[in-house]
Symmetry: C2
Subunit: 454 residues, 2 copies
């Protein structure tokens, strides 16, 4: 065991306390009311980088929430450079969503840390930062380090691509590592080699110029009903998306990859057990893993219209709105997917109402081959730090910046995920502290493996 | 002009001030937070009845909001007795709904009084009360008067039928009059002789036990999407309700009644102009007046699911809810209509989600023939008080207690409506003060006409 691993072991409790400190800051990027909290979280991270001994640590402005950037170049010019990415913003969370405890007052129970961001991404980001601390505080890291933590991942990293474009030299590296993925069980690490893109939209349907008394119903088209009718036409009975051309660019799965991604994949029974849904649902010719990793989706994330409070109000709402998003896979393009959906909705909107589809954000799908040298360094890091070699899987989620890093910085992106827990984006988010601990160790091993050369 | 009419003219400004006073009390019956305001409004009315000189004036409890009851028996045992009904509760109203001014801070502009309840029903109720005041204060009324003002009309008068049943003797009368209907233009009064019933429901759709990250989409059925799919199946392409058997009990319109109700009815153009909808909508073989007055409806009053705030949240909601209500016509029964809708929704709910339809409230449709003597007394009252004989129409709305009064008290119910304005149940509700003035006069004439014998 190297000195860095000993250091990590000795300081584990303080690492967890620091993670709790960061979770307590409600850095919800999508709500303007939380802007001061976003700044506070960014400052907290820059301050910690300075305490760790980074050569450079600063909060850098963007057109949205700031980026926290840090550098340590003590490994020398001959050593490889690793770019570490994480995000300090989180999804909204309120008790009313079904939390058992205050989402921004973290607590530990049964070995889990509960709180919004405990896993996504504050827990994994702190694991990375504390791995770096363990190396720097015990003689230094075998690789040069560049760390970029952004504050807009949960709003699709709207400003980060511009920031990266403007700082290509500053961010240049040999490999990029991101810890923002996970595994089902702590005993079997999984490496995600594919992520989905995302197109996030708002669908507005309007009819009358003002809310009407429902006594005048059936003389005009109810916009809430019309919205429901439009949404109902987005999928066929089998769960296939009906938008014309939507599957045209979807890469076909070959037999070899189907075998690889289904080897250690959630079964239909596992999906029912973990979600609580009465049955599974979706395209019948694909397994759940394939539907999540290799097929696009189109989902309703939210919906609102008219009166939905306590009691009754006999109103015909003037308008109705739904939040829609599509997860995209290689080789779909986010803008094209949006346009296909927009055109189809325009086509199926009846003349009795008006509809408008607004694009809120988008991100491209990404893919890194499992035999890439830095991916293999990660495999060895898991073997030593986690105790077992990872299996490979395609992720259902999106980290839009992965595709951007690959293209703009021309580096392989390794998803070194430590996530064990649940509740990400929902209530009662939690992160297994044993996974946090193994994550710190695995990250240290990853830097050591990359230090041996790629 | 009788002394009563002179009195009404002299005191008009004070009558309007009193109406504003009552509008200022936010007596929203459906929200528990407004319970103290409900009590305040009831007390205000009982106090005014005492000042007017009623023999009896009291706030009487029910299982919900109280009833205000008043009596004046000065016309003697030989004179007819009129039961006057109104409601002091109002629909919810918030600036966010699109009001230009605070809904509970009434103001006068261009001859209209603006405010929640200005027309429905505080304006018309005060017109009745001030007609009675004008008679009592100038020598007395030619008819005995019983006045009942309830506080739960906007929540479907849940407790009033029990109250009426328990006070049959107290409420016995020769005719019941209700001022809670309206007309399109002040120059042409309209008498409503038919009202629709109502079945108000909540449809809950649930899927996963908790909100999910949308990265796992298309493995389970999204409850918001499933709710939309169920709602979309409630009507066919022509706007006809698809619930099996729903039209079985609907009374057919004969040619004579179709002619009567379409004589002075809103055209398709009028509907488009007043609602702002791009087109009309509904069963193609019926005019707007027929669709509103003689055909049932099934409407979405509100809908909510998942995330609908600012920005984006990539969540699959665990549940979705819609408020649904059906307007019913003779000879439909509210309970049977609910059961038909409930059974159909159970049938079309896919096994991939769970659904539940809850009945919140119900009321039966009602009908009074235009040639009833008390209806003809009303025609003469309009001729004198309003300046023109009314046309007859069927109402699209519901006053559930009308059917209850007819059945339990065995009296004809005359809908002596004074409503000229708009925004009822929506934003910027307003009542033309000229209609308020004519309403007071017309009500006085009605009592005088009834006093001559039915």
């Amino acid at each position: 065991m190297s000195q860095a691993h000993e250091y990590a072991q000795q300081h584990h409790d303080r690492f967890v306390e620091q993670l709790q400190e960061l979770v307590r800051i409600p850095s919800v990027s999508t709500l303007s009311q939380n802007k001061p909290d976003m700044a506070q979280a960014a400052n907290w991270l820059a301050e910690d980088m300075k305490n760790i001994g980074f050569d450079r640590a600063e909060v850098m402005p963007t057109n949205g929430h700031p980026v926290v950037y840090g550098e340590w170049k003590g490994a020398g010019e001959e050593a490889p450079t690793v770019l570490v990415y994480g995000h300090y913003d989180v999804q909204p969370a309120e008790m009313a969503d079904g939390w058992s405890h205050e989402p921004f007052d973290p607590h530990i129970e049964d070995g889990f840390l509960y709180g919004r961001g405990a896993m996504d991404n504050k827990g994994q980001l702190i694991a990375q930062l504390k791995a770096i601390e363990s190396l720097i505080k015990t003689g230094g890291s075998p690789v040069n380090l560049k760390v970029i933590f952004e504050g807009e991942e949960e709003t699709s990293s709207i400003n980060l691509p511009v920031f990266v474009q403007e700082h290509i030299d500053m961010l240049s590296a040999d490999v990029c590592v991101i810890s923002d993925t996970g595994m089902r069980e702590v005993d079997q690490p999984q490496m995600c080699y594919s992520l989905r893109g995302l197109t996030y939209m708002e669908l507005h349907v309007t009819g009358p110029s003002h809310d009407l008394h429902s006594g005048s119903g059936h003389t005009i088209h109810n916009p809430a009903q019309a919205l429901a009718e439009i949404i109902a036409k987005l999928h066929d009975e089998d769960g296939r998306i009906t938008v014309p051309g939507f599957y045209d660019d979807v890469a076909e799965l070959d037999a070899k990859e189907r075998a690889l991604m289904n080897e250690d994949a959630p079964t239909e029974e596992y999906v029912i057990k973990t979600t609580g849904s009465p049955t599974t649902w979706g395209e019948p010719n694909f397994t759940p893993a394939e539907r999540m990793g290799a097929r696009p989706t189109l989902e309703v994330n939210g919906m609102v219209s008219g009166f939905y409070g306590e009691g009754s109000k006999t109103v015909i709402p003037a308008k109705a709105m739904a939040k829609l998003s599509a997860r995209l896979v290689a080789n779909q393009k986010a803008q094209r997917a949006f346009e296909q959906i927009r055109d189809y909705i325009a086509e199926i909107t009846p003349p009795s109402v008006r509809s408008e589809l607004k694009l809120l954000s988008k991100g491209e799908p990404a893919y890194t081959a499992p035999d890439t040298p830095s991916m293999q360094a990660a495999v060895r890091a898991y073997e030593q730090g986690w105790g077992k070699a990872p299996t490979f899987n395609r992720g259902g989620g999106s980290i839009p910046i992965v595709a951007d890093f690959q293209q703009m910085l021309n580096v392989p992106v390794v998803l070194l995920g430590f996530g064990v827990g649940d509740g990400v984006h929902g209530p009662n988010e939690r992160f297994l502290l044993e996974a946090f601990k193994r994550g710190v160790d695995t990250a240290i091993y990853f830097y050591e493996e990359v230090g041996k050369g790629l």
